[in-house]
Symmetry: C2
Subunit: 272 residues, 2 copies
């Protein structure tokens, strides 16, 4: 379909936004929109400028016959901080406190715009790394891992706490469940992760780190490598296992009696 | 920030793509990019033409002081059929057959591009409806519901088969599990769905329809309304409960002995 430049820029932008971290040859655009490759190059230059100046992301041009363009989403530090601050406020709402000192997070982790923003912030923190998959544990981590995987355009891998027949053969490891201090099992389908994968672990809430340690043991079983650990929120008061991780939010105090929660921005955005 | 028209169109396109089903006042763009409202109107007209001619979606202009633009993603019938056909081929791969006559789908339901495409096809089928939330059951339905909710820009609601302390108070119903023919329970957090919501149910695989019937009972308990039921794939051979639903794919035959699967396009795309 032949398009005018202005329209072409709109549809190429749409394509890049929906296909991040993917190399696309300029010939693809040129033949699809019946334009000279040089015109497409000019379009890309304008899109690149607009994307970069507005912190939408970076566009890399790879030269050569098998070259093309790759779009990598990014986020400005200001926008990331604004997102984190608004989530601090939301987490501090006193009616989130549940009996037993838990925080209700489900509404936040099931709202597309929030998930998309958190996904952008977490993915941005690992932008320089090669990542083949995002791993999480069922059920609450799934939307978060999905959101990060969407930005990085890689599959996500769901570790389960139960055995499901629809997963085929699985590998299992033991881990210490933080909430009950008991030894439990977690399972990962053999098909779901290729050996030698570089994996980012993402989870919703970190208390002791038992499930994270379990996932790290699974990575070892699958001959895969840990790139990093990112959690939506952590409880700053609990004793952690010896793992290195980054958090978007830190819950400093959770006072059930007085219905008071204190939350600050976590390490993911704090030190740079 | 002052931008040239071409750059403005790129950033406005990006904004609309990331904020579907949301009314945005043209003043927002005008003040953000230091342009006259009339210039923004012209930008929108070009974007609208490009989006509509390329089946990216429709842009509605709402006039009046509280007016603005709304972007609703869409997909052409050709592209939807192409996506469904490619998934038919993938589902027909003989190594997906698991002992017991199950199909391994996890790899498909954890790949962002596939999920995004399936989300677009399902959301498009319900484009004319008012939908407040997408409901599914943990764990396998979650990424699918997430994908549909992303396109419709509404929250998704996760029904669980177990009781979790982090969900707060829950409502439970009994349902007949298709795989075991036993009566089981499913739970939904009281906070997760407002009364009077109009809900689209989405699930990964339909056999007997027990979990769907359970979710419908939950909707009734929450004083909410069913808009429709969409499943990624259905088993055409199994006896279904009396529910009306649409499927993207239909598994006609699953021959474990000869490692043979036959899949066709389901009702979601078949009859229009």
């Amino acid at each position: 379909m032949k398009l005018r430049r202005s329209e072409r820029m709109v549809v190429i932008s749409n394509y890049l936004i929906n296909n991040p971290y993917q190399l696309t040859n300029l010939h693809t655009f040129a033949s699809k929109y019946e334009a000279a490759k040089s015109s497409i190059s000019e379009d890309i230059a304008i899109i690149k400028k607009a994307f970069e100046e507005n912190h939408i992301g970076e566009i890399e041009t790879v030269t050569g016959a098998s070259g093309g363009v790759i779009f990598r989403p990014s986020i400005s530090r200001d926008e990331a901080l604004m997102i984190a601050k608004s989530l601090c406020d939301k987490l501090s709402e006193s009616d989130r406190i549940l009996p037993g000192g838990y925080l209700y997070l489900t509404d936040l982790l099931s709202t597309p715009t929030i998930l998309q923003n958190v996904g952008r912030v977490i993915a941005n923190a690992f932008k320089g790394e090669t990542i083949d998959a995002v791993m999480t544990v069922a059920t609450k981590g799934v939307p978060l891992a999905n959101a990060v995987a969407n930005i990085l355009n890689v599959p996500f891998v769901i570790v389960r706490r139960d055995l499901k027949i629809t997963e085929g053969s699985t590998v299992s490891v033991n881990y210490v469940s933080g909430s009950s201090d008991r030894i439990e099992k977690m399972f990962l389908s053999k098909r779901s992760l290729k050996p030698g994968s570089r994996v980012l672990i993402v989870d919703d809430f970190l208390k002791g780190g038992g499930t994270i340690t379990g996932m790290m043991a699974l990575l070892h079983e699958f001959g895969s490598e840990l790139v990093g650990v990112a959690v939506f929120a952590e409880n700053a008061r609990t004793k952690k296992m010896d793992i290195s991780y980054q958090s978007l939010l830190r819950v400093l105090e959770l006072d059930v009696k007085n219905s008071h929660v204190t939350v600050e921005i976590g390490s993911l955005l704090k030190n740079d």
